[in-house]
């Protein structure tokens, strides 16, 4: 029977399989019993520190066991964690705090105007604490607020409920045919839906999660594979590309050990896909389709006959599919076909509560319990979902999503440029790299411009190349024509 929350699964496994490893780092592990005890101890530390039930707490992702313990402890004591990326600058942290009405920050560095707790100090205090005894969260209560740039580019706080966590985890477990005692390596950031939900699916399944901080230290991957006998991995196209780049065909040595690999967060480059298929002929290789707002709604094993152009696989166990026209009116499934595709919406227990403090955006996205998308699709005779088109300007730089509009707005504050367009060029390792086209003003100085951007933006958002152009392609309204910008870049 389905439980109310991820924490309820962890607490149950702490009793039924106390010695099974729950979460591992290269040099540190916790069993389910240790993990749940630590969560209770950490909750006691947080409550003693004055953090209140229902309080919103920003938690910087450090991609280790301590981060997950604090995250879970906040949920256990009834506070609401808001996980944020480790590269988040203090100014951005303050902005997010204002957006989600959080006054407390757990991180490695202070941010202006916020009550601060050091994650490392909390870990030290946890060692001697007495475990708290709280009620486990209910299914319909809030689990966390996830920050996403989504497909519109505007930063949004997705309010997630515990029932969503469990339903999405079941989608992952069913979709991957996850076996009992699955051991999964997760190098993906645990503040994003993809990494966090893979961890949660392993907790629901009673398996083991092995944490890595990105894929650049690929030597850690091989050590984890050997030490914990990993049977699966959750990768991004960028991390797969990095494995290929830094280790050649080494992955093929683990073909018989790996039950499956899931690739998420961005489309896989065709060459990498073919290379992976040739190396892992007997391993299940999955692509998930989903969003923070409604996770893992479709799954495709691209090492199977289901793989064909545009196919995102079959809807997962807790996903309800609906088609609409451009006005939002429901279209009957039998009226949707290859010749007459319609817009996809997703419903069911996977659907978020809404965007925090943004009723307008919530109304635009949620329609009667369904999450609207801008994807045109149809279902084929076998029930596979086929995407026909996608409206998406977001740049995915090695797994980090960047809104061009946000960077352009910032760059236009520099007086040495008349205008700019932020776009991307293909890259073998990261999939794409951000670049910028600028129309210079008289006062333009490239070094000063970069210094200006460096001061204002997170480092991953900085353009890797700046091209000076005479003009930018725009509509008569002044909107940048992004496809035309891409064409320009092909010539530069």
């Amino acid at each position: 029977m389905r439980k109310d929350s991820i924490l309820q699964y962890i607490s149950e496994y702490a009793k039924t399989q106390p010695d099974t490893l729950a979460v591992c780092e290269l040099r540190k592990t916790v069993t389910y019993e240790q993990y749940f005890t630590n969560i209770r101890k950490m909750a006691a530390v947080l409550m003693a520190a004055g953090i209140q039930k229902d309080e919103h707490v920003i938690l910087k992702c450090t991609q280790n066991i301590n981060y997950l313990t604090i995250f879970s402890a906040l949920q256990y004591m009834g506070a609401l964690p808001i996980p944020v990326e480790k590269a988040t600058m203090p100014e951005r942290m303050t902005e997010i705090a204002a957006q989600v009405e959080a006054e407390t920050l757990i991180s490695d560095a202070e941010a202006e105007g916020m009550r601060f707790f050091s994650a490392k100090e909390l870990e030290k205090q946890m060692a001697d604490a007495e475990p708290a005894d709280c009620e486990l969260p209910k299914a319909r209560s809030r689990s966390m607020i996830l920050f996403t740039t989504g497909t519109t580019g505007k930063s949004k706080g997705v309010v997630v409920k515990h029932i969503n966590d469990v339903a999405v985890a079941e989608n992952v477990i069913g979709g991957t045919h996850m076996r009992p005692h699955n051991v999964e390596i997760i190098p993906m950031p645990l503040n994003h839906a993809y990494g966090l939900r893979r961890y949660q699916s392993d907790m629901v399944n009673g398996g083991t999660v092995c944490l890595m901080d990105g894929m650049v230290f690929v030597g850690v991957l091989w050590k984890l594979m050997e030490k914990y006998h990993a049977t699966s991995m959750a990768l991004s196209p960028a991390s797969l590309g990095m494995i290929f780049k830094l280790s050649g065909d080494r992955l093929a040595e683990y073909e018989s050990q790996l039950d499956y690999i899931q690739i998420g967060s961005a489309p896989l480059v065709e060459a990498d896909k073919q290379h992976l298929l040739s190396m892992m002929p007997n391993t299940r290789l999955y692509n998930f389709y989903g969003a923070s707002e409604a996770g893992c709604s479709c799954i495709l094993d691209f090492n199977s006959a289901d793989d064909k152009p545009g196919c995102i696989g079959k809807p997962t166990v807790n996903s309800v599919i609906r088609f609409t026209d451009e006005n939002g009116d429901t279209v009957r499934p039998e009226d949707v076909s290859e010749a007459r595709p319609a817009l996809l919406s997703w419903g069911g227990d996977i659907v978020m509560e809404g965007y925090y403090n943004d009723p307008e955006m919530t109304r635009e996205t949620l329609d009667n319990g369904y999450v609207r998308t801008k994807d045109l699709a149809y279902l084929d005779a076998e029930g596979r979902c086929i995407l026909v088109g996608r409206m998406d300007d977001i740049i995915n730089y090695g797994g980090s999503k960047i809104s061009p509009a946000e960077v352009e707005d910032c760059a236009r504050g520099y007086e040495g440029i008349v205008d700019c367009a932020y776009s991307s060029k293909p890259d073998a390792i990261t999939g794409e790299v951000p670049v910028m086209l600028v129309v210079k003003a008289e006062a333009y100085d490239k070094q000063a411009f970069m210094a200006y951007l460096t001061e204002k933006l997170e480092s991953y958002k900085l353009p890797k190349h700046i091209y000076e152009v005479a003009d930018l392609p725009k509509t008569f309204k002044g909107t940048i024509l992004r496809k035309e910008v891409k064409k320009m870049l092909e010539q530069l």
């Binding site: 480790k86 590269a87 650049v216 230290f217 690929v218 030597g219 830094l246 390792i429």
Partner: protein, 75 residues
């Protein structure tokens, strides 16, 4: 060693490579910096760092990186 540190400073200016001993642990070097260093080492020293050696401990200080490259050159 001085030449090696100069190379590191070209890859990532503004870091005290002479004294920092937690370049990775303290987040001073990001993943794309590591890739740039691996490429630069390959180009300048003719040494491709094997994937088993690409672990944080080997990149936390200029000295650790330098020793790794020297060991690989001797192999």
């Amino acid at each position: 060693m001085n030449e090696f540190i100069e190379m590191l400073k070209r890859v990532k200016p503004g870091i005290d490579f002479e004294h920092e001993t937690a370049l990775v642990d303290d987040g001073l070097l990001e993943s794309l910096d590591i890739i740039s260093i691996i490429s630069e080492v390959s180009e300048v020293y003719g040494v491709w760092i094997p994937s088993d050696e690409i672990i944080p401990d080997n990149f936390n200080s200029a000295e650790a990186m330098y020793e790794l490259v020297q060991d690989l050159k001797e192999e």
